[in-house]
Symmetry: C2
């Protein structure tokens, strides 16, 4: 792909409660995520990145669509689809939960929000888990109702997020724990707010209940945020690789297990004993994984965009993995990448070849996130 | 949305076996469909349209992803998800099958291809029916294997399609019936070819089994097609509205039943008696539908693009439906549209108001497809 193509938008590519404001803010590029517009660039990837790491941004992440599971069998269903043990989850907690199929392959990596013992929201990465959950529930005859509520996350991200939110809802928000949620009154309406978000710069996600509330809330944040140099932003491809934040569909697919994706800490015996595909994960835990996700430093000038995996080879020219995302990091002054590497070659400091779109380069295996460098 | 945005491409937005050729052919815009690139424009919407109606085009419709259902319970599963009666389906037939949820709402409208009594391919519109089918099968304990095979449809569309294909595989293809399929040898490999495709200009869909076969097949079609002025093309937003071809996610969503989408002829008693949501459809059949899809002629100059539904009102200013897609038809010299209209106002020749992005216009209800005008 040599030229950046245009995106054709029809109703099928859904707008969000914030799309008009995003457009007014000068969005330049989108991706499509859960059949919905997800902004990817405003000024430029690098300008957006520098601003995010210094100030505060408001992100339209409505494309993280919610699935609501409500009813007596809600807890049973949600434990059936993830190897993470949910037994101790509190009703003010959010859990990152790898979701897997019957072969242990990842089919999503959402954040689940527990609202009460029989009510959850699942904030999706890009695959239609609504159908998976509903299919399982109907097939098994579970007593739950499952639907996509009119709830759209709006993220506040960046080092000044606490200051901005405290100005709006009061200082009590500063004590909100990581991946904890609470209700806050904003503009006369209660919103569930969680300390979460797809950056390592700190911040919150506001679960905007009701499309009609999107623009008023956006406007409140921008009015209060003026003194913090607030801007419209979006998940940033440089910052997320620096931080080792994985993108489902890019860094791991249904062909990878959570162990391979470096998510072994979310695979618990109590979960694997009851979840679909748990037997496959238990066998992998015993036998060891064949490949695993790693950070990589790629030599040379600024790498081109990585649209499709770049092959990794060893000195003998054998295929030993692939790079799934790569970018020039201005702050590190290096090309950083995420890739899947075979066991024999996954040790840190291992030197490999990578076949980038513009040719062969040297790549060095390392840890994720890159802050460790 | 005032300006056409760019599309950011990462691995999550999958390339197809034909993407390199599509790029070389000068694609200008894409949409994302089943997490995959689907071209939407080459020269311009109108130039592509005129060429399609006169010559022959090759379309990368790999984004119509396949779900393979294989095993002793395959027929049982597929009948469970559609109100269409599949009892008489032959193993050389393709059926258009509305798929519905437990509320009778449409969740896809794929073409199902029967390969044998226990093996089907389902060629999807834009939603992850893989998970719906797998969830149901796992929940119910059905004896089937369900997966996305490495099969990518490549369409040959336009009035010269028969001539082009006959030059390649012989004249026997001319007798292939509508929505029938047969295997043909192309370049030394057998491909399943169906007389089908998302245009009303005639043509075929070649189910390309194996990514590695994509480019060789593309090249064979373009070499043989030179004398027919073959071009790279794609589903065309003007031609499809003229022909009344519905787009799932645009013209109907999970909030609409097949009856509302004008697909009552695919709702059979034998199907509704056994399929999920069939009871809801039987009740609607008895009580009558409250709204239904219609064609509309919109007065005035060329309409803008319709990104989000445009409200329809009656003379009293009451909301009576919405337009889901609208375009200027060069051949009809009119603005043509598809919309959902309430019962009281769905009769042909009813005059309504439509609130297009650029203001209020007059709209006249009529039949679909527009050829009837």
């Amino acid at each position: 792909m040599t030229k950046t193509p245009f995106l054709s938008v029809t109703r099928r590519v859904r707008s969000t409660p914030f799309t008009r404001r995003v457009t007014e803010s000068g969005v330049k590029a989108y991706t499509v995520y859960n059949h919905m517009l997800l902004p990817t660039m405003f000024e430029s990837f690098e300008a957006d990145y520098h601003h995010l790491k210094k100030h505060v941004q408001v992100w339209d992440v409505a494309a993280e669509r919610q699935v609501e599971i409500i009813g007596p069998d809600a807890a049973k269903l949600i434990q059936w689809v993830t190897p993470r043990n949910l037994a101790k989850m509190q009703d003010d907690q959010c859990y990152y939960i790898p979701m897997i199929n019957e072969k242990g392959g990842m089919i999503n990596d959402p954040v689940a929000t527990k609202i009460s013992d029989n009510r959850y929201w699942v904030s999706l990465a890009d695959s239609d888990m609504l159908y998976w959950l509903k299919g399982l529930a109907i097939g098994k005859g579970l007593n739950v109702d499952i639907f996509e509520p009119d709830v759209s996350p709006l993220a506040v991200q960046g080092p000044k997020s606490d200051d901005l939110m405290a100005d709006i809802v009061g200082n009590s928000i500063r004590s909100l724990g990581f991946f904890r949620h609470r209700n806050f009154n904003i503009g006369g309406k209660n919103y569930l707010v969680a300390r979460s978000g797809w950056s390592k710069q700190g911040g919150f996600e506001i679960y905007v209940d009701g499309t009609e509330n999107g623009e008023p809330l956006w406007d409140i944040l921008f009015e209060a945020g003026e003194k913090y140099q607030v801007r419209a932003g979006c998940p940033n491809g440089i910052e997320r690789i620096e931080g080792g934040l994985l993108s489902y569909g890019t860094d791991m697919t249904h062909e990878n297990t959570p162990y391979e994706a470096g998510l072994g800490k979310y695979c618990h015996r109590a979960g694997m004993d009851v979840c679909i595909g748990g037997d496959v994960l238990l066998a992998e835990k015993k036998a060891g994984s064949k490949q695993m996700i790693r950070g990589l430093i790629i030599d040379g000038d600024r790498v081109p965009l990585c649209h499709n995996p770049w092959q990794l080879t060893n000195a003998a020219g054998e295929k030993v993995g692939h790079v799934t995302a790569a970018v020039w990091s201005p702050d590190y002054g290096k090309n950083i990448a995420i890739g899947m590497v075979d066991k024999k070659h996954w040790d840190h400091e291992t030197v490999l070849n990578v076949y980038a779109t513009d040719g062969k380069r040297r790549a060095t295996v390392g840890p994720l996130p890159f802050a460790a460098y």
